[in-house]
Symmetry: C2
């Protein structure tokens, strides 16, 4: 009998991090441990005067690694035949863009005496929106001088991203900016810390973070030019030289577990650690992403991930968040799209409409029951899923929600269903954009709690998108994806694709489209697109004077059927 081998994936989320220990032969999960970040509110440092501010303490990342990995090793030791030296490698993913300022040795300023407790010295969490003015200025500057840097990120730079945040730090907390030798993404910081490679000059950098958030591309020589940055602020141009000019995929080894860390987690020194990446990208790998399969990670918002062969030269998918070679699978172009709000819309609706004092999951379950009893088109309602703006394909945060078709008899179940359908229409719009750009979509693999818990949602998505909806077998796809890179780093699989074949899969239950419902939804989708284009696309004026009557006609048909 062959000796079993294991890999550990460590996944840093918004409120906690988790470690997953899996068998590299088949991805089966032996141990899992979750560590809630101790600092701030549910792990986030907030500022009651500024709702845009969201920071994290980098010390929580270190503590989290030590606690989680030690816990899964401890759990696994109780299983007959497991020994820590069978762990071949570790992979790590984090949220992003979540950059933090470090000193010349790569040590977080937040963990120095001088800046302890200073919010600007912490990790700037992905959803920190304090830098919206800087983001707009970066977009305007790039457009003005015709710089190519936005070509790979949908044409609009975001307040959630690397340069916006660093520039905002310079503008509002110059002492921190000046004390920072460099800035590193959380997904680079953690692997560097556990492998003793903190020095910014030699710290391995993730192509995923660099390419999707820092405008890094080999075709223009890495990060944006000094000249471009000087146009924003000369001090940003000066920082560029202290950052990096190389970034690599996660099938590369970042380094090896140092003695101190290894001892504290109960593993041998020298275990290989893969280069980090973002959670959605590792999640896509853990869900078995491959050409033709769109991986949809459904949470408060969605990430819609695809890969295209690297041979697809000149591939251009306008309106998506990023197009970066190697950001998901090492040999393919990684494509990231997304919807700004999905689970968030359901939760907002549930809190607004559920009258029995229920909230959160219970309210959603109650609305789901009512909505699932209805037929497509029967409510006469149509909604746009833009309560938090539109990420793909319009890339416009200044859009808002819309509900049309209400009567005096419209019920909360009908409204909830219309919102679920609206997110499905948004999903279909993304799929159409991929397809018309030459990236075929044959099926969708869904991950995340909502996909697992709501057959109703999956049926609606299958019918609206007219595609089979699969559910990832693992409910820990991000951590599993990280473990896959750990397995590759440890040499248990020669390629990521081989590791995926062995370690990932989808559940047996597949949600397939119903022909009649799909037909009704095609009629409704035409109405969605008219509204989408009328309200979302500059200069487009599709006629809307028959929209309400078209909805009533579909309603009449649906109710008589």
């Amino acid at each position: 009998m062959k000796t079993k081998r294991y890999a550990i994936g460590v996944d840093y989320g918004t409120n906690s991090c988790r470690a997953l220990l899996v068998d590299v032969a088949d991805g089966s999960e032996l141990a899992m441990h979750v560590f809630p970040y101790p600092t701030g509110e549910a792990g986030i440092i907030l500022d009651c005067r500024d709702p845009n501010l969201a920071r994290q303490h980098p010390g929580d990342y270190i503590e989290g690694f030590l606690a989680c990995v030690a816990a899964v090793v401890r759990q696994a030791r109780k299983i007959r035949g497991f020994s820590p030296d069978q762990v071949v490698g570790i992979g790590i993913d984090t949220t992003g863009s979540t950059p933090l300022p470090v000193d010349a040795k790569g040590w977080p300023l937040a963990m120095t005496k001088r800046f302890a407790g200073n919010p600007a010295a912490q990790a700037w969490l992905w959803k920190d929106h304090t830098s919206h003015a800087e983001a707009a200025a970066i977009t305007a500057h790039a457009r003005k001088i015709g710089a190519p840097y936005l070509a790979k990120c949908g044409g609009v730079y975001s307040s959630e991203w690397f340069w916006s945040k660093i520039w905002h730090c310079l503008n509002t907390a110059p002492d921190v900016f000046h004390a920072a030798h460099a800035w590193v993404e959380a997904c680079d910081f953690v692997p560097a810390y556990v492998t003793g490679k903190l020095s910014p000059a030699s710290m391995p950098r993730s192509i995923c973070a660099a390419g999707h958030k820092a405008m890094f591309a080999t075709q223009w020589g890495g990060l944006p030019s000094e000249k471009f940055l000087r146009g924003l602020d000369p001090k940003l141009a000066a920082l560029r030289g202290r950052l990096y000019d190389r970034a690599v995929p996660s099938d590369q080894v970042a380094g090896f577990l140092i003695e101190d860390v290894a001892r504290r987690v109960g593993l041998p020194q020298g275990v290989p650690v893969a280069v980090g990446a973002f959670d959605a990208h590792h999640g896509a790998v853990g869900a078995g992403i491959r050409p033709g399969a769109l991986v949809k990670i459904i949470g408060t918002s969605t990430c819609d991930m695809m890969v295209a062969p690297a041979t697809a030269k000149g591939l251009d998918v306008s309106g998506i968040c990023g197009l970066v070679p190697g950001s998901i699978l090492p040999d393919m172009i990684g494509l990231e799209a997304g919807q700004s709000a999905v689970g968030d819309i359901f939760l907002w609706c549930a809190n607004l409409l559920c009258p029995e004092g229920r909230s959160g999951g219970k309210a959603i379950a109650c609305l789901t029951r009512e909505a699932a009893a209805l037929t497509p088109g029967a409510s006469g309602l149509m909604a746009l899923d833009w309560n938090n703006g539109n990420r793909t394909i319009l890339v416009d945060p200044m859009l808002s929600g819309l509900l049309i078709g209400q009567t005096l008899h419209t019920t909360r179940g009908e409204i909830f269903r219309a919102l679920v359908e609206a997110t499905a229409f948004g999903a279909r719009t993304i799929i159409q954009r991929f397809v018309e750009s030459g990236v075929p979509v044959k099926e969708v693999v869904n991950c995340g709690g909502i996909a697992e818990k709501s057959p109703f949602l999956m049926h609606v998505y299958a019918d609206v998108c007219n595609l089979p909806m699969r559910i990832s077998r693992s409910s820990q796809t991000c951590a599993l994806g990280a473990a896959i890179f750990g397995a590759v780093a440890g040499g248990s699989h020669r390629t990521v694709a081989a590791a995926q074949r062995a370690m990932t899969g989808t559940k047996a239950l597949v949600y397939r489209p119903d022909r009649a419902r799909a037909r009704t939804y095609s009629e409704l989708y035409a109405i969605y697109r008219d509204l989408h284009d009328a309200f979302g696309k500059t200069g487009q004026h599709p006629p809307l004077d028959d929209i309400m009557k078209r909805l009533i006609a579909i309603r009449t048909q649906a109710r008589s059927g």
Copy 2:
């Protein structure tokens, strides 16, 4: 000291009728009595298989008159100095169009043995919508042959009106149709019954009912021509000869109280009874309608009533429900417009959004508190008030509701406020149509419980319409209007205008527009009109691609102010 004189107004509503006994000198109210109709559900005969059906038993009208009038006389007799012979006249109004089939003597078929309990033989209540197919066919027929009959009622014939209902009776209950010698409006039936003038040939007919609902106009010789009716069905053409060719305003005397009725209500025989009319029209008179003052009767829907001098030849206000000389004040053109749903929208919203198990009035009070605390524009929301279609100015029941501008933070108070504002924008649209058609609007007199109970609503209406909002002094404006016609019939005032001056008034509190709020609402109204025209007007395509951004810009300004 002059002997006091009194008049009685009898107002037939949807669920009950009421009598009001007032002093003709100043309109002060001495006695009031409400009689809930005993038949059906809250006075309405329903059919669980057909939600469009709504009928009433004409016997309830007779019983109601006897009970109410007897009660107010009994109450008044307890007041020192009152004597029944001081009652100079009675006025009557009813809902409409509420026609009922009668035999050759004018006796309701519903009150004959053969048709007792037959729904088609009852009074067809105004809100019975069983005849929508017939209404559409009448509109199509009139348009096809270029008949002028729709010119005075907004260009579209309604399922709520006289001919639609009679034709539907012919199509679905021919036995009733053939047994009917004639059809009479409830507002003609009651005065005829109490004055012994039931015979259809000599029964006085109301110009209000005839002009607004039966396509009656002197300019085309009364009712629609036999030829026109033959195009619908020859049997309708045959009926025409058994109907009427004269209809008069309510300042005319219909007849005098007959002995039997007089005895049962405790009044002397021979008290003059005025020709009847519809409740909204008498309500406008009771609210003191005069040129320049729009009377807004706010209930589940609204009636927006105006008068224009009879000298306004060629007056044409497109999109309103009717334009009939003498239908409100005898010497003026009566103009009726309306909003299909106002109170109904608030109630729907309250039932949908109020989570504490409150309902109806309590829920509305709770939402009103939350909405009143907000400032115009601060929610970023905009709604259309079309949950029940649009009566004026689009005359289109196939329109529906719309809400735009939602975020993940939108609250129920914000939504409720947006709906209140939407009804105010709808009110402004009606006012603008009057003004641009040459009927100036200087002020608005509001009646109905919502207007009296909600200062919040009145402030919003004043700010949105940029006009002073007054509240009718009497909260029984319809019954007061009927009493005014009773006073004129009895000779206590020579003209209706003189009676109005003496007997009506508005409350001291006037809601005047706030300049800053009115300015914000003007910006918001421009957005409302863009949505109104885009979704409501065939062939109009105003650009909507900046609507969400305009709402966000107003929101930003409102929140920073």
